[in-house]
């Protein structure tokens, strides 16, 4: 399969061109920044956590199509999730991208599968995991507070 079909799937292009969950929360519980040192891509994840759930999430920043789309899909996936569920999803997504792990996502999260191809392009793995690493750190910080 050509890279352009494997990596630049329609869903990734769409999310990168109109990312969702942009903007800022009025009272975030935690804000975490992620930076890809090698290319300068940067992301900021804001969470409003209440009753053990991510009630609201905002993802801002600038980066390539893979990192922007990944942040957008992530925000759609985890908003409303229980914290433990979100942590599990982070592990599953990263396992898929980093190790090529076989993960089946429920139908409502099938956009995440568009990133499967990234595993074949090691230089782009950091792009796809940038927002997820920031979310992971945000959750760890929230748990520590």
């Amino acid at each position: 399969m050509a890279l352009s079909e494997d990596l630049y799937k329609e869903v990734i292009i769409q999310h990168s061109q109109s990312p969702s969950h942009r903007g800022h929360l009025s009272h975030p519980s935690v804000v975490e920044e992620g930076l890809n040192r090698s290319c300068g891509d940067q992301v900021e994840v804001e969470l409003f956590i209440e009753a053990g759930r991510i009630q609201e999430i905002r993802v801002n920043g600038r980066g390539c199509s893979i990192s922007t789309a990944s942040g957008s899909v992530m925000a759609e996936a985890v908003e409303g999730m229980e914290l433990a569920q979100a942590s599990k999803l982070i592990d599953q997504f990263k396992s898929m991208i980093v190790e090529g792990g076989a993960v089946e996502f429920p139908e409502e999260l099938e956009d995440l599968e568009a990133f499967k191809g990234v595993q074949r392009y090691p230089v782009r793995v950091k792009c796809a995991t940038l927002s997820w690493n920031a979310l992971e750190q945000a959750l760890q910080r929230a748990a520590g507070n």
Binding site: A2, L7, Y8, Q17, S38, G40, D41, C64, S65, I66
Partner: protein, 415 residues
């Protein structure tokens, strides 16, 4: 495009250029990051380890004498290339970055005081910024910048605004790795002289493409990296005026940089050993001489003219690609073989990945020039850089691949 160089014959000397990448012939357009190496340089490196390997300056046996002789031959070749009057004031480092760090640490810490000023430019590579930040922090000095014109050149009409009686050193690149601009070094150097400041040139992008004459430039220091000049990685050079280098304290301490060591102190060796502590990259230095022979055989003037012709062709062809923004001065007479661009609505890394699929190697990102990217208000650029082994067909391949980038991101690109 007419060419002064038989680049097709030159390509035959570089084995990597006939390899395939992602199933396609490799189109290498990233020589500003590191040049490819001709077979004879690779052979020299291997031959050294196979037949001539011994430590230098130490062994009382023939093999060591010979290794020392080869190593010192490269020093004389470097001095010849730079027209440096004294070979011993050309010292080997790991790269241009280490050369600049050497000056910042050795000269800077010994001479800079609170309130002194270090002048750099808004185009500098991190390697000619961070060492100065570090020494400025230690000494209480201040960093100032030569601003850019709207056409991406250094605005030398504003030199007087940024130079004053506290300016101690002006540290400027020879040519911008991000935009390819070649600077008017003689004018900057003359201003440094009149201000009583030293003048350092970061020649990482200069010495591989342009004839360098350190006496004509009247610079105090010139830093370069062998790996951008057909040579091995891990070898750099710092040229410095002999009286300055002699007055500077050692940078790194250890074996070979000493004259005498007592129980409680040491006396440093004379140049060049004072700045070459420990066992250096002997094989790399030895092979670098072969790279310099190759460069001189092809001729730096001809290399520059070939790249200028390629640049002109590339700018013309790329200007026809819809939705492409080109960065860099419109005055091509002061530009080296670097084209920096962005495709509207597409991040440079996505451009780089799609080009890679076509076998085309370019650089994408901030090019270790984050302050410049902030000034331009962009996260980075895609950059194609040329060398003696590139031809117009490489530009054609680039243009074809950029149309593919546009197709994939079609809806985002404004035609």
């Amino acid at each position: 495009m007419g060419s002064l160089l038989d680049y097709r014959a030159i390509r035959e000397d570089f084995p990597i250029l006939s390899t395939r990448m992602n199933g396609r012939p490799l189109v290498f357009l990233d020589s500003a990051a590191s040049s490819q190496k001709p077979q004879r340089v690779i052979d020299a490196f291997n031959d050294y380890y196979r037949c001539r390997n011994a430590n230098i300056h130490r062994g009382a046996y023939r093999l060591s004498y010979e290794a020392t002789d080869l190593y010192e031959t490269t020093r004389r070749r470097v001095a010849h290339l730079l027209n440096a009057p004294h070979p011993e004031s050309c010292v080997f480092t790991r790269n241009a970055t280490e050369s600049i760090n050497l000056v910042a640490r050795s000269w800077g810490e010994a001479n800079l005081e609170e309130g002194d000023e270090i002048l750099v430019s808004e185009l500098e590579h991190h390697s000619n910024l961070v060492p100065w930040f570090m020494v400025a922090q230690r000494c209480g000095a201040r960093i100032r910048h030569i601003p850019l014109t709207a056409d991406y050149q250094l605005d030398l009409s504003r030199l007087d605004e940024v130079i004053n009686a506290r300016t101690r050193i002006i540290a400027v690149q020879h040519m911008s790795n991000a935009l390819g601009v070649i600077h008017d070094l003689k004018r900057i150097g003359a201003r440094a002289r009149s201000a009583g400041a030293l003048f350092l040139i970061d020649g990482a992008q200069g010495a591989s493409h342009l004839r360098v004459d350190v006496q004509d430039l009247d610079c105090d220091f010139y830093a370069l990296s062998a790996h951008k000049m057909l040579g091995p990685t891990g070898v750099g050079v710092l040229y410095g005026k002999r009286e300055l280098m002699e007055a500077m304290p050692p940078f790194l301490g250890g074996g070979d940089m000493i004259l005498t060591v007592w129980k409680d102190g040491f006396k440093p060796a004379p140049l060049p050993n004072k700045f070459e502590a420990g066992t250096p990259n002997i094989a790399g230095v030895v092979a670098f001489a072969i790279a310099l022979d190759y460069l001189e055989k092809v001729g730096l003037e001809r290399i520059h003219q070939h790249e200028a012709a390629l640049l002109s062709y590339a700018v013309e062809e790329l200007s026809r690609v819809p939705g492409l923004t080109l960065y860099g001065t419109s005055d091509l007479s002061v530009r080296g073989g670097v084209v920096s661009f962005n495709v509207d609505g597409v991040h440079a890394h996505d451009v780089g990945t799609i080009l890679d699929e076509e076998g085309i190697a370019i650089r994408a990102g901030h090019h270790c020039c984050e302050p410049l990217m902030r000034l331009l208000d962009i996260p980075g650029t895609a950059r194609a850089s040329f060398y003696m082994y590139n031809g117009p067909e490489d530009v054609d391949a680039l243009v074809r691949a950029l149309h593919k980038v546009r197709d994939i991101f079609r809806s985002a690109v404004k035609s």
